[in-house]
Each structure stands twice: as structure tokens, then as C-alpha cells.
């Protein structure tokens, strides 16, 4: 895994965490409009970043379109990545 790939992966990791944290909060605060706005802003950013990463480096999950040969098994497995 190149430095640039790892940098982008960590950026996705950080954004996914932010989105999850807002989602858990919203699960018990359905009417918090300010939090919902933040959630939507970050989840939009995350969607773009994930698309971009997967087009460059291959799928993070099996629902993503793949080039030939099937790419999913070949990218590094989470426990094998050197941070």
C-alpha cells in the first residue's frame, strides 16, 4: 500500500467515524436539526471520498463494480495494513 493510498484510507476512516458518531447521536435525538445538517454534510463528503478511493485503489466492499479480474480479494486485508 502506497503512502498516498494509506493517507486516503485514513481520511475515509476518520470521516466514517464522524458520520457514525452523528448517526448514533441522531438515533436518540431525531429532532436535532443542527446535528442532522452536520451529518448530511459529512456523509456527502464521505460518499465522494469513498467513490474516489475505490475507483483508484479497488473496492472496499463487494457491492462496488469491479474490473477484471474480480478485485475485491486482492486489496490488503484490514489486519495486514501497516499504519
Amino acid at each position: 500500500m502506497t503512502r498516498e493510498e494509506l493517507r486516503q484510507l485514513r481520511e475515509i476512516q476518520a470521516l466514517e467515524f464522524t458520520v457514525l458518531e452523528f448517526a448514533l447521536y441522531l438515533d436518540t435525538h431525531l429532532q436535532d436539526q443542527a446535528a442532522l445538517k452536520e451529518y448530511n454534510r459529512y456523509s456527502q463528503q464521505l460518499r465522494e471520498l469513498r467513490m474516489d478511493y475505490q475507483e483508484r485503489y479497488g473496492p472496499l466492499h463487494i457491492m462496488h463494480p469491479s474490473d477484471y479480474p474480480w478485485e475485491y480479494p486482492r486489496s490488503p486485508w484490514p489486519w495486514q495494513i501497516e499504519y
Partner: protein, 188 residues
């Protein structure tokens, strides 16, 4: 359904292999207050819990716990990766090697295999949510013990992240408890 993502929730960095520490971390892989217990407890409690908020929080926290289970598995994997058998034996992991090789197996820090008797599911939502709040506090305390026992900066960084998650989960379950209480009172 669940969908796997090929990414850890938080980075795992270890400076060197450490067999003693790997063994201790099993507490959170297959121990009573482990991430495995947490994940299965919440995901199996969802079906009969009243209120959509409580269903959502059990689903989403339960799913996050499985991501934590993977983080602990990754820590143990990296701390034991490639270690020669005789070193494993000298570190007191001979019995683990005899039964599992270097495979990761859900048992606690003393080698007792994980069992469903660590968790409970009750139809009474007040009992269930109190159990979950207690479980989060027990997991927090376990992480504090593990942080005290660690001397690897990378491992400590990951454990601090996991400890903080237990605090947030406790908070969310407390809010769910209030929502469920209001719901039950409105029914009376």
C-alpha cells in the same frame, strides 16, 4: 443484512510482537465483557425492544461492537505474527498453540472459551437497557486495566479509542432508556 467493509474503524499500530500482551487482550476478544459479548448482546436484543429509537441504537451500537471485535483481533494478530513456536511456549502460550496454532480464538485472558451465558436478553426493556449500561461500564473498566498493563504506545492509543467508545455507548443507552420510559408511561 450486514455488509463487510475492508477497513478498520481505527488504525492498529504495534511496535513489536508481545505475547503476554496478546494474551491479556483476549479479555476483550472472548471474555465476559468483550466486544463479542457486546455485539451479540445488542444485536439479539433488538427484536422485542419497544420504540424505534431503541431498535436503532441497539442495531448501530451492536454493529460498531463487531468493528471493535475486529480491532482487538487485529491487535492480537499483529502482536503474535510470525513468532516462533518455542517463544510462544516460553511465554505461556504453549496450550494455545497446541489447540489453535496461531489462529485467533474467542477465549478470555485465562483461556476460558466464550459462552453465551455472559449475556442476557430480556423482554423487559428497562432491564435490558440497564444491563447494557452496566456492560458498557464493565468494558470501560476492562480497557482501563488493559491500558495499565500495556507498554506499547501504539496499542495504548487504540485502547484509549476503544475505551472512549464505551463511554459514548453508555450515554446513548441512557438516552434510549429515557425514551423507553416515556413511551411506557404514555401507555399507562
Amino acid at each position: 443484512m450486514w455488509r463487510y467493509e475492508k477497513i478498520l474503524q481505527y488504525p492498529v499500530r504495534v511496535s513489536r510482537t508481545d505475547l503476554g500482551l496478546a494474551k491479556l487482550l483476549s479479555a476483550q476478544y472472548g471474555g465476559p465483557d468483550s466486544e463479542l459479548s457486546a455485539g451479540l448482546r445488542y444485536l439479539t436484543q433488538r427484536y422485542v425492544i419497544p420504540t424505534d429509537e431503541a431498535k436503532a441504537i441497539l442495531t448501530d451500537i451492536g454493529t460498531e461492537e463487531l468493528a471493535h471485535w475486529e480491532i482487538i483481533g487485529t491487535l492480537i494478530y499483529k502482536l503474535t505474527e510470525g513468532v516462533p513456536v518455542q517463544r510462544l511456549r516460553r511465554a505461556g502460550l504453549g496450550a494455545d498453540y497446541a489447540q489453535h496454532g496461531r489462529a485467533i480464538y474467542p477465549s478470555d485472558a485465562t483461556g476460558v472459551p466464550w459462552t453465551a451465558s455472559y449475556i442476557q436478553a430480556h423482554e423487559d426493556p428497562i432491564a435490558t437497557l440497564h444491563e447494557n449500561m452496566a456492560a458498557e461500564q464493565k468494558a470501560r473498566a476492562t480497557y482501563e486495566n488493559l491500558i495499565d498493563l500495556s507498554n506499547d504506545a501504539g496499542v495504548i492509543d487504540t485502547l484509549i479509542f476503544l475505551r472512549k467508545r464505551e463511554v459514548v455507548h453508555f450515554q446513548r443507552f441512557g438516552e434510549a432508556l429515557n425514551i423507553v420510559r416515556d413511551h411506557l408511561e404514555a401507555q399507562d
